[in-house]
């Protein structure tokens, strides 16, 4: 079972939900939590465990061989991202713009653009009890999140404990990194807040999930603030609201101290229980 926790708007509580759900489920089952928000991973702030792995991750980029190049220009014509350009008698490569598609390299008739590895970030794997935690972390200055998200997912496929529930903390927004983080999910939880911004971005996230044909439900965080527009929207659109997590200062205090909240905030615990029992009923005890 693969559950991805996403949102349109940033700062709605994806990490809070992902981490707390992971700890709660790990009380009785095997869980692997992955932080795929590689541009600003923060779920790791809540996890203390033994290090299983910490290693550098690389992407492949073209490297210009001046001696072999005949300046035919095929490479720069084929790159949709302008990561390879020709300036007079010179070919310039912009590694941060490169999506590692190999087109320039493969189509070069003189083999003047061989692909070479370039470090883009790190991958970390921690373990504590029933909970495994995997984090991709992009280096500062790197612009492409997707290659590292893809590698982190591959690592999850290869190293998840048998039968573990996979929980993913996704990046915010609705762009390529979110698509990559959600594309193989069985179920997506969209976390939002009852504000005009929350509703606006939730609508975008819903359109995205419908486009890529994912089943999804909504968790309304900071319930009690703002207005009822999100609930009205979900009702009109026939979207299941899985839980309403109340706005509570205690949650913010625990979060800011890097602690899970559900043991100390009964309302938060109740919300998580609601989500888990719905998932259990819908997806079956065995799958979960």
């Amino acid at each position: 079972m693969r559950i991805v926790i996403a949102s349109g708007k940033g700062g709605t509580g994806k990490t809070t939900l992902a981490v707390n759900l992971a700890y709660l489920l790990a009380e009785s089952r095997q869980v692997i939590l992955a932080d795929l928000d590689v541009e600003e991973p923060n779920a790791g702030l809540f996890i203390r465990g033994d290090q299983v792995l910490h290693e550098d991750r690389y992407k492949m980029i073209p490297q210009w061989k001046e001696d072999a190049c005949t300046l035919c220009g095929i490479c720069q014509g084929v790159c949709q991202f302008h990561a390879v350009i020709q300036l007079g008698t010179m070919i310039m490569v912009f590694p941060e713009l490169c999506h590692s598609c190999h087109a320039c390299s493969g189509l070069c008739p003189e083999s003047a653009l061989p692909m070479v590895p370039k470090k883009m970030g790190t991958l970390t794997h921690l373990r504590t009890g029933n909970l495994d935690f995997v984090e991709g972390r992009l280096d500062i200055g790197e612009e492409q999140a997707v290659p590292l998200i893809r590698q982190t997912k591959q690592y999850l496929d290869d190293h998840s404990p048998d039968g573990a529930i996979r929980l993913v903390d996704a990046p915010p927004g609705t762009t390529c990194p979110v698509i990559e983080a959600t594309r193989d999910a069985d179920f997506v939880i969209l976390v939002t807040e009852p504000t005009p911004f929350g509703l606006h971005d939730l609508k975008l996230a819903v359109l995205t999930m419908r486009e890529i044909r994912k089943s999804f439900g909504v968790v309304l965080n900071r319930y009690g603030t703002g207005n009822d527009d999100v609930l009205d929207y979900c009702r009109e659109e026939n979207i299941r609201v899985l839980a309403r997590i109340p706005h509570d200062r205690k949650i913010a205090e625990l979060y800011s101290a890097g602690k899970p909240v559900y043991q100390d905030v009964p309302e938060a615990r109740r919300s998580l229980d609601e989500i888990v029992s719905w998932l259990d009923e819908t997806w079956g005890k065995k799958a979960l």
Binding site: Q76, C79, Q80, F81, H82, A83, I85, Q86, L87, G88, M90, M92, F94, E96, L97
Partner: protein
């Protein structure tokens, strides 16, 4: 000297475009011949990625000695321009092209 400007229009009274990668036009003034020409860069402005390098390439093909712009190029464009040997003057925000040229001649602009 051939001097290129990032602009929003095609004559001396046009406003400068403060952006480099997504500038609408380049105006190129050839001081020797006195001829003013322009290049339409608006298609690059719609690119999702890599507008800086693409625009740097267009600029290179216009063969200027000097670029006068507003905010200054971003990282990718800056490294392309550095290789190209074009001198970059920036800080010509909220000026017409004519005013920007005067500011350059009076040494009022910053250089990279």
């Amino acid at each position: 000297m051939r001097i290129a400007f990032t602009t929003r229009g095609t004559d001396w009274d046009a406003m400068m475009d403060p952006r480099f990668g997504r500038t609408e036009f380049f105006l190129v003034f050839d001081e020797k011949t006195g001829v003013l020409t322009h290049f339409d860069n608006r298609e690059t402005g719609n690119e999702a990625h890599g507008a800086g390098p693409k625009t740097a390439q267009h600029l290179f093909n216009l063969n200027p000695d000097i670029l006068i712009t507003g905010n200054g190029p971003g990282g990718n464009a800056a490294s392309a321009l550095e290789k190209s040997g074009i001198m970059v003057y920036y800080g010509a925000n909220e000026m017409t092209v004519r005013e920007a040229y005067e500011a350059y001649k009076n040494d009022e602009l910053s250089t990279v």
